[in-house]
Symmetry: C2
Subunit: 213 residues, 2 copies
């Protein structure tokens, strides 16, 4: 209504359209992206150098929308948990794009800035340098998987038979079937992961104390 049929392209619009397309189709092709924006592929190339840059714009859109930067002032577990929740929510809004974004290298300075914050958080908490990278990656894997689970139906195991699967049936009967299923699993896993991280830190301190004796 009153908007031009072919609005002016800008990088933010390209990122948003690419995210929508990847989310719906599970893949990203430049001709399809150009079509969805109502422009010729050549017009896209006035704004982006190619596929890698489009993926960077998708990530920028996702990250800027969610404001994915952990707070530094809180206890590290809480800051990391808050970051994990925002991160999961951002990806849950675009589940189809998860595999694409999960395997594309993160070359963008704004992503490096986010990881700089997270790395600082873990180093300040006392993690040794060699543990920081695996800890972040493990947490991200859990976050991405949880984002997919958040868009799954609340009844993921229909028709379990009490005769052939009695223990599974008993377990399922104890858990309410509602929209909080994925939320509870996420919080349960996040708590377990952070407890595991904390235990590792405590072991390190104990080792350090023994080493100093």
């Amino acid at each position: 209504m009153g908007r031009p049929r072919t609005p002016l392209l800008d990088r933010r619009r390209i990122g948003a359209a690419a995210l929508k397309l990847a989310d719906e189709q599970g893949t990203l092709s430049i001709p399809a992206l150009a079509r969805s924006l109502g422009v010729a592929p050549s017009a896209l190339y006035h704004h982006v150098s190619g596929r890698d840059e489009i993926i960077a714009l998708m990530r920028e859109e996702l990250t800027l929308t969610a404001g994915l930067r952990p707070a530094r002032s809180r206890p590290w577990e809480q800051a990391l948990a808050d970051w994990a929740r925002s991160y999961r929510d951002a990806f849950a809004a675009h589940p189809g794009a998860v595999p694409l974004l999960a395997v594309a290298p993160l070359a963008e300075p704004f992503m490096h800035a986010m990881y700089e914050h997270v790395a600082g958080l873990l180093l300040d908490a006392g993690f040794v340098e060699t543990h920081v990278r695996p800890a972040i990656t493990a947490l991200e894997s859990f976050i991405l998987g949880s984002a997919l689970d958040l868009v799954a139906p609340s009844v993921m195991l229909p028709g379990v038979d009490r005769e052939t699967a009695p223990r599974l049936s008993a377990v399922l009967e104890r858990v309410p079937v509602d929209h909080d299923r994925a939320e509870r699993a996420f919080e349960f896993g996040l708590n377990a992961l952070l407890t595991g991280f904390r235990a590792l830190l405590d072991d390190q301190s104990a080792d350090g104390a023994r080493g100093a004796e």
Copy 2:
């Protein structure tokens, strides 16, 4: 070479072809599946009732290939870790199918049999019934995310600048860039998750002991 152009359909072949297609295209359409099998869509419907059944066949193919059933004889942490590793490897072979399979309800008896085993493992370990479902889901989310990470490049953070991201640079310099990056992150996270699960069990026992005093 010598094979018929239109081989006979069977359910196992349909599952394998659907898995390949979803993996490559991120989605599954019946016309595309029929094309990839060299048959008319109507021929497919002689074997399957529709999309849900095809997804069940994909899952059967993945699960049967990987033999996803945890051992019951070992300590539960080890049995669960072995199951998680096989599960991750099975999904890592078909990363594009992950979002599709992650959100499709699991109505198949062979999947219920697998979850019956895992639920039994956790119940025997001492988990309370209400924790079993969230524990399995959290572990699965971590597994699915890790499967995606396993197919990501070993250099996921190229070009980090030492001036603007000094702590991230320091962390990255301490970690070798090789194919084991994702493997190390998975084992780190799996260990943290299982440590967190173990801590929860210990807390339960402590609560139980206090309750009995």
